[in-house]
Symmetry: C2
Subunit: 254 residues, 2 copies
């Protein structure tokens, strides 16, 4: 039984190791080399004790490794018989380009597997106290990429305003244009909205307000990845009574 | 530091313990009592070695425990100082009624936390070789409940046919009506579709075909939970070359 030469496309979850899966953990522990995105946290990477780390990520507009270079490097590592993990923030198939990488590996005859992860599309709102679906409030959720405005506008154009939850990934920089496009499509100014930054990490921080204020939401100089939620569920605030956080573990006081 | 009285709303993932999170594992190991849905697998439950299990789930049209009874039982257990896990298939906030339970707990002054899980909405297609988003093919994904047809029809009515991936949860029994509603909204007969059953379990099984054939897709007498995927991505088939599965671990042969 051997993993030699196998490429595992692993979802790292939203940030904290708490949300890594058991299979993701095993693959990291066994890895010889880990190709990771910029958004993967050091705390998750640390499980790959015996591996070489290669940062191939991009963050915002900074320079990143070209997709074909990443794919070629994974293919080379596999052919050397190494156990390869391709570690992506969240889930590999939610705007993670995992599909493209899987196709490239298949075309090169490289064995691979997909290890789904906890997507920030669902977990970031949840950790901010917002359920993406809620009976009687949101019968569905649309997850859309906010970095490509043409796509965004096309996707949301037909949706009945307020009928479902809209979760926008990678949309922080474009939040003004996103809010404008929703308003243009008939979404009310007062539709509840939220931004969850750094979900599951020490820097977790949530902004809430009406859609009309989304453009000017003050997120300071926070550079964590952010998830935007628009829809009635964003007005829910599922907060535990009497909860204290001590060293990351919920502590229930007297 | 104590978890006494804390209610943890934990997502169990799609079925296999492989996709349980590290925090979910810890909570199960520490639990005194686990209230679980019918869809949670024995393999995941087995981590709660010291706990009493209470099955409160429903499956299809069989009898289930009323929501208010579940909530009252969790509140009672919490007040007895027990460490309570509410274990749900997938993620608690994707059609899991986790939001309702969190609100009920908060109203009763019961401390709780949400532990997001790997949602079958994303993981089931992924394990069936289908990425729910794919650059140039699907710039977004809509996740919708197929058990409530009125909601389903209302949600998909405005969406430009074929513009995004539609993932339908709990829609197997209604797949004829679901296909009809999509056709009525202008989705082409030949739009790729898929059904993934029992994702991540030994009974994992995938049907693929055009939307026109969805109604009569022969799923035999399979009773596993199923996820329907409609959209261009369902034509993708991300399959590893030379992959052998030996005891659940990918074995790469010569």
């Amino acid at each position: 039984m051997s993993l030699l030469g196998l490429v595992s496309l692993v979802g790292a979850g939203p940030g904290s190791p708490d949300y890594l899966t058991l299979k993701g953990l095993r693959r990291l522990q066994e890895a010889d080399v880990v190709f990771h995105d910029a958004l993967v946290t050091d705390a998750v990477l640390a499980f790959a004790e015996d591996a070489e780390y290669i940062d191939v990520g991009k963050r915002g507009h900074r320079e990143s490794t070209a997709q074909n270079v990443i794919e070629a490097a994974m293919i080379t590592a596999s052919r050397q018989g190494l156990r390869v993990v391709r570690l992506k923030g969240g889930d590999p198939f939610v705007f993670g380009r995992g599909g493209e990488e899987a196709l490239a590996l298949a075309a090169a005859g490289i064995p691979f597997e997909v290890v789904p992860g906890v997507s920030a599309a669902i977990a970031a709102p949840a950790l901010g106290g917002i359920p993406v679906t809620h009976r009687g409030v949101a019968p569905g959720v649309l997850v859309v990429n906010g970095s490509l405005l043409d796509d965004f506008e096309r996707v949301i154009a037909g949706i009945a305003p307020g009928s479902i939850t809209v979760v926008v990934m990678m949309g922080l920089r474009n939040r003004g244009a996103i809010a404008a496009a929703l308003a243009e499509s008939g979404w009310a100014d007062q539709t509840p909205a939220a931004i969850v930054l750094g979900a599951s990490t020490d820097g977790e921080w949530t902004w809430r307000g009406p859609l009309a204020d989304l453009e000017h939401a003050d997120i300071g100089d926070r550079e964590q990845p952010g998830t935007i939620v628009v829809g009635a569920v964003a007005a829910l605030r599922l907060e535990s009574p009497r909860k204290l956080e001590v060293m990351g573990v919920a502590h229930v006081g007297a």
